[in-house]
Subunit: 257 residues, 2 copies
Amino acid sequence: MDRKNIVIIGSGNVATHLAIAFLKAGHRILSVISRNQNNAAQIGEKTRSSYSSDYNSIPDETDFIIVAVKDEAIAEIASKLNAGNAIVTHTSGSVEMNVFENHAQNFGVFYPLQTFHKEKELEIREVPFCIEGNNETTANALSELAKSISNNIHFVNSEKRKVLHVAAVFACNFTNHFYAIAESILAEKNLSLDILRPLIKETALQVMDKNPSQLQTGPAIRGDEKIMQQHLNYLAAKPDLAELYKKLSESIKNYKR
Amino acid sequence: MDRKNIVIIGSGNVATHLAIAFLKAGHRILSVISRNQNNAAQIGEKTRSSYSSDYNSIPDETDFIIVAVKDEAIAEIASKLNAGNAIVTHTSGSVEMNVFENHAQNFGVFYPLQTFHKEKELEIREVPFCIEGNNETTANALSELAKSISNNIHFVNSEKRKVLHVAAVFACNFTNHFYAIAESILAEKNLSLDILRPLIKETALQVMDKNPSQLQTGPAIRGDEKIMQQHLNYLAAKPDLAELYKKLSESIKNYKR
């Protein structure tokens, strides 16, 4: 891909990881725009670009404007932007592409489906990017941009993106909550999560090349009522957890059929 | 550790992985005893040991008898065994150590907290082994045996082992079920789980050195009622999933406090 001129709006985790990835891929970060001047200065330094808090300071030669801010801030920023001929995108899993429709000619979505932490390096080439554009040329341009930093590109419209988000809540947000519940169950008996960590890791890694529906183990899928009753007795003092245990066990049993 | 003489009872996933690990660590597998002569022959071949279906064929020089069979078969095998001076253990997360108390002098538990698949190699040195013995000498002997194949040894009594099992059901069985639910939600819209796999992996890997309670993300922890309502609307046609979504979101919100 040719070298592109990119403006980043936002200075959080996603903005930082994307800016660095674009730079590594040979693109130019013209400017980082953020209300938070400290963060903007940090990422500006990392990417050798100028920074600003003025949403109208978009240089004429800009090819892409990447709005990498919190969901609830996107609409307001969209209304303030002076995008010109640049393609404007956000990076959200939940916000409609059409948030830009009254404010730009060429717009889309550039959604990296991964959890980012500023301090933590990650293999951006493995991150799935979900791309949507308001016309074919825009969608293709965004896909090319994504390909310059990742090998894992998907065209996903706003409707399917929502489905993806629902699935991600189950597979990631809810699973992390179960890790936290396990942590608390163990802590109560002075047991460390360390003893479970290898099993947590293997449980996730084994679905990388197999289907989870074929890998279910545990008392519920075996129909081992005796063990389930023991566990429920143990959880009796924590009715919330006992109820979750019951619901999940039922769900596993019903899923089997 | 000295070379030990080991008899393996059982020929499933755990029996196979342990037998191979013991052999690699320099121990001798005297015999593999199993009702399933085909499986026993396979593992006998892999470990250059004899095989049999007679629970009384325990050689005098046996140091350890490892009963690696299904939970419900352990009690019956215990009653048939002629253990002599050997230390007898099972490998279960749920069965009491005392299942052996009327049938052997030295007995314990040798529980590898990991999910095993016969075809799949795994780093046995990273597998946590939960050790229990009916006296200190036995516990130490079992611990030494475990150390010869793993770097991750814990003394865990039967009561704590049960707590560990409850926690593992949340952190592993229930999370795999959520992976399966995500798979089905995506499949319905012709989306592949591939698009979520990197996020599933990262969600598990990030708790390897951090506490899950500090890594919670998603609409519930943010209190983003609008997104949660959208997701519930989407799930309205699947009341079971909608209910799970609600319960988990509530649990995450309550956990925050």
